[in-house]
Subunit: 367 residues, 2 copies
Amino acid sequence: MKFTCMQNNFLEVILTVQKAVSARSSTPILEGILIETEKDVLKLVGTNLELGIQSYMEANIIQEGSVVLPSRLLSEVIRKLPDAEIEVTVSDNNAVKIACLNSNVTLQGFPADEYPSLPEISENQPIEISKMLLSNMIRETVFAVAVDEARPILTGALLEVEEKNVTMVCLDGYRLALRRGMLEVPHEDLRVIIPGKSLVEVGKILDDDDQTISITVSDRHVLFDLGLTRIISRVLEGEYINYKQIIPEDYKTRVKVDTKILSSSIDRASLIAREGKNNLIKLSLQDQKMVITSNSETGQVYEEVPLLLEGKDLEIAFNARYFMDMLKVIEDQEMCLDFTTGISPCVVRPIKGSNFTYLLLPVRIFA
Amino acid sequence: MKFTCMQNNFLEVILTVQKAVSARSSTPILEGILIETEKDVLKLVGTNLELGIQSYMEANIIQEGSVVLPSRLLSEVIRKLPDAEIEVTVSDNNAVKIACLNSNVTLQGFPADEYPSLPEISENQPIEISKMLLSNMIRETVFAVAVDEARPILTGALLEVEEKNVTMVCLDGYRLALRRGMLEVPHEDLRVIIPGKSLVEVGKILDDDDQTISITVSDRHVLFDLGLTRIISRVLEGEYINYKQIIPEDYKTRVKVDTKILSSSIDRASLIAREGKNNLIKLSLQDQKMVITSNSETGQVYEEVPLLLEGKDLEIAFNARYFMDMLKVIEDQEMCLDFTTGISPCVVRPIKGSNFTYLLLPVRIFA
């Protein structure tokens, strides 16, 4: 194989497909990326067997072929080369010579035929969705997937399509994050559970523009087709939790509050809470304000947040980190918090519309 | 004690004196900073017993007094408060209430009389030096102090004054870094060895402006007086190495080379060198160019750097990291490298003048 291309183009595509490559793998070839010619373009592939990313780039193909190169080392070498034309030549023993102006770097590669191939997915009736909507849906929910593997299904996010309505739901037993959006083109109903780790990488690759990408779901995989880049993830098999049943519709206490003011108060209360055992913040709702307190050996915080309170006074406590995780992704200037009792979940919604729903379980305290 | 001050002023001074405070100390009070009133201003002090920083700030003193507060926690709390007036009140048991708008944070403090006091140094005949010169001298030499304590004297930098000439020298047995400067006002001759760790923190506090600060040297301490901030460091006792004897004046091979071009070539060669055992780069000088090579299991680098060569051809090898450490701080567009043999030190100087001298020991290779 032999080709020439521009340093900055090559680097960009390497960094894209590298997002699917494990930094450490017991199988060294899985720390590599596959580079192969396909007619007159270059195809790069990275995979960790759960997630695969392939990307095409323009190159001047002089001789066809393929090779696998260690991903981290390759990206560092290309990053440190000048922004000029690079010539890549693969010899018979998979040694790859990378020449650029007065530099010659030779990296030892692996044979391409030992690299796992990505599953073939035929793009039949894909879901069309704007990059920006998908990016926001991921960012605003994926923090709530379960980290431990006790219930593997909860390490994934549920993507649900009903006509024009698209919903992403993540929950880990302590909290739930739900984001709704609208498709331009209706699609037949479907539900698929995508690993949270895969979605994090998908989110990094999506630019924040309004172009449309397509999502195709097969029995065992989901394909995100961004044009030159295709991302394929394994899906999680099994039934997701009936999340609609979990979200209470009634409330006894409703609060409207400024997101930034609440967020900076809870952020300060967290500083002291995290020094304690349970990372606990207490909320007391009465007299049109929320009093937030936290205690530990190192000190106390007492914060007053003005708000609109409707219904009964209430005392309730939460894990500070779970509350902050949620507040960090809410972009609305104001939001609405619904409570029933001090031991039942808090439901967070926008003031207008129904773009998002968050649910937080309180921590029982014996005061 | 009770005072009010502005959040941003308070934070700035906390972050300054915190540079002398250890993140972890077996004596908890040493993780704190001392806050005390001094007439109508506030004085903050941080120290790790080797280095001490004290800084004055304007405040509205309502009641005199003093307290010690945990430094990291305090700086995080103040950072997260709004940019508004802060009221600080210390109660009898050293609990400190920090109030700002609707926030009340209480931190448990320590009694001020248990905090170590900084040594008194009378500013008799100080050295006057521009902040920018001192900052450059530190940055361009301090990376070469010894890290291990086998020869404690080498963990310090030698500061030498002779009339108007000021010199800073660091060396660790493998390399030497020397930076010269000129004082505006001559000073009597002196030599003092300042711990490298202290100088790193001094360097962080110096802004890059052309104001003058004063340095006072006593038997056991050195004082950097920046006006509102005073930095006091222990000095290292003992004789420094006679560094002038180490630097060869003769050469058999002299090279003039572009700093950036050499630097980016050696940077690339380092990528492969660091994968090997000895982090080794080989330099071959002939035909008005330098060929730089490195080898490891993962690959090879071959770089050609054009240069002006005077004298004999030469082959020599270096530790890649030591070479890069030096190249990172040289700001001259071109520089001069002098060699004698493949097993004697390389001396690096500016093309014009004598602002800096670096010396690098080669690594013996059996080729």
